[in-house]
Amino acid sequence: MTGTPWLPAHVVDVRDLTPRSRSIVLEVPGWPGSLPGQHLDVRLTAEDGYRAERSYSIAGFGPGERVELAVDEVVDGEVSPYLVRDIRPGDFLEVKGPLGMYFVWRDADPSPVQLIAGGSGVVPLLSIARARAVAGTDQPFRLLCSVRSPEDAMYRDEIEGLEAAGVEVEWIYTRRAPARSARGAGRVRPGELATLTWPPERHPLVFVCGPTSFVEYVADVLVDAGHPALRIRTERFG
């Protein structure tokens, strides 16, 4: 009853990102390509016909039939533990997408971009940062990543490499900071958000993605700081 069809997909590559998350590259014949920031639905069918469906952010973007997902394990979850622990190259599943036309960055928009990630919320924001690199723009970009500990940082090496391309990257460690860190561990504070992100005077387009409590908190602080609500796009999970 909906125009977007389920497409058969095969796993071509899996890679551990952290002890509880993994990237999964799918080969999807007929995939129409995706915009930076979009997501898709995954459908798994057990041998006896039992099915489960979930939504996941796309880490890549653009044309082509290779689709990169990144999945963080939800404790007691039904689908994510399978995707993080069990799936392997050659396995079959189905996808529907790409989905969502709002939490999307279009390189025709010249505004500075502020990306703010809580945990695995970094996945669609990485997609946006990758798109900036491919666009070859020197558009001002900042990425603030809040993670529990250094070991919980998905795509850490790639994200640190973004700095060489002109993306300012900031890390917040909520539970355990690296030994060399002067800040220590703890949730991001309003004053830190003000100094680690573009100020309202720069008129940035802001993307915030993460758990609901993180997104609610960050978006509230940004509105209080003077960012127009309609310039803050949010995506939440949990």
Binding site: G3, T45, G49, G77, Y82, M101, E216, L230, R236
Partner: protein
């Protein structure tokens, strides 16, 4: 079964005939919204019904909550695949809000504080199918869940139950709202899986 996912299904949930296809049961109350949560006080809150000819009918919070209030026990289904069963709401029926209004409209655009909109056919809003709700499980509706008041159209996916609702604009054509322009279905029946374009 043409093809299956090797090794999947070990942790499956019990199947439940109360769940529409592709949904799973949650006991939490997750949040779907596109931007920051608007903060609207009851003092500044207004609810307005506007006809296609531009006639307004408007209520303050006190006027609104003096209207006949109904108890609603219902299941709710979010397009992001969670469902909650047997939730309890209190609010004013859309039948009450549109009672006696002279209109040839087929649809309504729900407008929210914060600027978001969603379109709902009148056939899905009238006849005891929809409310403007301000209480959830015996307490005032929390801001992140749409408080002070949200539309409640529980037989459609929950994005149609516009949070922070401030009015209904009747329209003679079923024009798409914000969510519908950004990838979601014009109607949104969970039993027909009308999720996306």
């Amino acid at each position: 079964m043409a093809q299956f996912t090797r090794g999947f299904g070990g942790r499956r949930r019990e199947s439940n005939p109360e769940l529409p296809p592709g949904q799973y049961l949650t006991n939490d109350f997750p949040v779907l919204s596109a931007g920051p949560t608007p903060r609207v006080t009851r003092d500044e809150w207004r609810f307005t019904v506007r006809t296609e000819t531009g006639l307004d009918r408007s209520w303050t919070w006190d006027e609104f909550t003096a209207l006949p209030i109904e108890d609603v026990h219902t299941d709710i289904h979010c397009v992001t695949r969670w469902s909650k069963l047997r939730t309890h709401w209190r609010g004013v029926s859309v039948d009450t809000l549109l009672d006696g209004i002279d209109s040839a409209a087929v649809s309504a655009m729900a407008h929210s504080y914060g600027g978001y909109t969603t379109n709902v056919p009148l056939a899905d809003l009238l006849g005891g199918k929809a409310w403007v709700a301000f209480e959830f499980e015996g307490a005032p509706l929390a801001p992140e869940h749409g408080g002070p008041a949200r539309l409640l159209v529980p037989h459609l996916y929950f994005w149609k139950s516009a949070k922070w609702v401030q009015g209904l604009v009747l329209q003679v054509r079923d024009d798409p709202g914000f969510w519908e322009q950004n990838g979601y279905n014009m109607h949104g029946d969970p039993w027909l899986e009308e999720r996306y374009w």
